[in-house]
């Protein structure tokens, strides 16, 4: 009962924190997608495969670093406030995007690429018309993980003055008042679920139907099952 009454008495405050949280989330995710996909495109270029593979395994390992470590490092080297918090979140959420985009592009069937080249597609056309559309289900998977990670980790970023719903959790912790803590945590969870749902709808809209036919993932993304599995364990 305490929780419900607390929630309604402080609804304005919670909504304000939610807004901040969403703001932090949107800014971080946007930058993360832009930077992550740019880096991935760069390292999957032809002739850069070796560097690509190395970065891919580094990214695989980086996924096991706790978010707290990144946030603490940001605090030490950059300081406190919302900007350092967003910076830390971008860095941390880059990992799944780069990992998935890179491995998605690498796992595009070589015959398909050869055929594209043989038909006279330029490197750019090959990337935007063939490789990325085929890797899109996997890339979207990375963006989904990133989104969830940002929403979750943004609560931790509250310790360095990021604001948002994390404040409730830490205040609740300090004052030993579970109702405050739970109101924050509950809202964050709800946000995460809604965002994940929205992204899944976007994914359905933009991924080609031709890739959703049952056999497709097995053929074009064979390796990915293994990667995703590793990812789950690390996470």
């Amino acid at each position: 009962m305490n929780i419900i009454s607390y929630y309604f008495n402080n609804f304005g405050k919670i909504m304000f924190a939610l807004e901040t949280h969403i703001f932090i989330f949107l800014v971080s995710l946007t930058f993360s997608i832009i930077i992550g996909i740019t880096i991935s495109i760069f390292i999957t270029q032809e002739g850069k495969k070796k560097i690509g593979r190395i970065i891919l395994s580094v990214m695989g390992a980086a996924q096991s670093v706790p978010s707290l470590v990144i946030i603490a490092l940001t605090f030490i080297f950059i300081g406190i406030g919302i900007k350092p918090a967003i910076f830390a979140l971008i860095v941390y959420s880059l990992v799944p995007i780069i990992f998935n985009t890179t491995s998605g592009i690498f796992s595009v069937n070589q015959d398909v690429i050869e055929a594209g080249k043989g038909m006279g597609l330029t490197q750019n056309q090959l990337l935007w018309k063939v490789k990325i559309p085929i890797a899109l289900p996997v890339i979207m998977g990375g963006i989904r993980s990133s989104a969830t990670i940002i929403i979750g980790s943004a609560t931790v970023a509250a310790v360095i003055g990021g604001g948002g719903l994390g404040d409730f959790i830490f205040i609740g912790l300090k004052l030993q008042k579970p109702e405050i803590l739970i109101s924050g945590a509950l809202t964050v969870s709800l946000l995460a679920i809604i965002v994940d749902y929205i992204i899944s709808i976007i994914e359905k809209k933009i991924v080609s139907k031709g890739l959703k036919i049952k056999k497709s993932r097995r053929i074009y993304h064979e390796k990915l099952h293994k990667y995703n599995y590793d990812f789950c364990i690390n996470f």
Binding site: I113, E114, G118, G120, L211
Partner: protein
Amino acid sequence: MIELAEVTKTFGNKVAVNNINLNIKKGSITILIGPSGCGKTTILRMINRLTPYDKGDILINGTSINNIDPVELRRNIGYVIQEIGLFPHLTVFENIAIVPRLLKWEQKKIEKRVKELLDLVTLDHSFAQKYPLQLSGGEKQRVGIARALAAEPEILLMDEPFGAIDPINRLKLQDSFLEIQEEIEKTVVFVTHDINEAIKLGNKIAIVNNGNLVQYDEVVKILNKPVNEFVENLLGKDRNLKALSLKKTKDLITKDGFITVSNIESHEKVKEKMIKKDVFIAFALNENDHLKGRFLLEKEQGIEKLRLIYNSAPWIIERQNNLNEALSKMLEAGEKELPVVDRRKKFVGVIKLSNIFEEFKKNKTF
């Protein structure tokens, strides 16, 4: 049309293609054949600059391909590979339309062209909206050929295009490919390791071993005069029989000794007609000239009366089948003559065992 002059390619220390000279005639099918790793695919890939060559030159219509922008060059050369490489995220229509779109054709022209091509490779127009993963291996291959032909290239490069298809469908695809080629007359360079396929499809065969050109000649000449043991082994012991596959069924089609009737005519009427024309075979065709059945008129033992036998699913031979294939079908069916149909299943005539045998005797050389 395509001229390879003293072309050499080395990968590290290994010479993949050694000083090869080839002159490929416009409108012909040239087969590159040899054991795996002999350099045949490398030769093919050098023609559209997917693999650069070290020495010599390749000329298309007299122009060195090094003077043509590779992207430009490839858009004017159709390319079909073994795994086809259809784009899984695009529909059949979009797959076929890729190069025309790159060349900025108008949408209407593209739509018309795609329909034409689907007709050419005998796929129903409803296939246009399907995705590659919904197609069978043979259907994918047809789409692959249609895609390669989309922008009306003069040259078609094919790298073991039927290699991954089961033997029965492979024969069918070869037949329809020959019919298609009869219509389009492209300059085709075709890589295979299957000697039967080479003999069946090729106008000329280039035999490659360890990067060297062993023999390059017309198929008949290669069968009759293999230059060395390697070629002899490649051709196998049954060269005479194989030579039969140089002749197509369509060269021996006859229109004598039978009549055609409509498939809705009554058996009585058919019998009357046959007796009148003094023939023992009649073929029943529907309004599109599709073969629907066969009538045989047989004398019953002891009685003067004639008996009419109707077979609703007779054995058929395709027009593009070579004599070798026609012969084996006849042996299997146990018949001395079989009806011939074309790619669109239209009845075109009859082929007789006696004619095949005469052909065999005429060509026997050793």
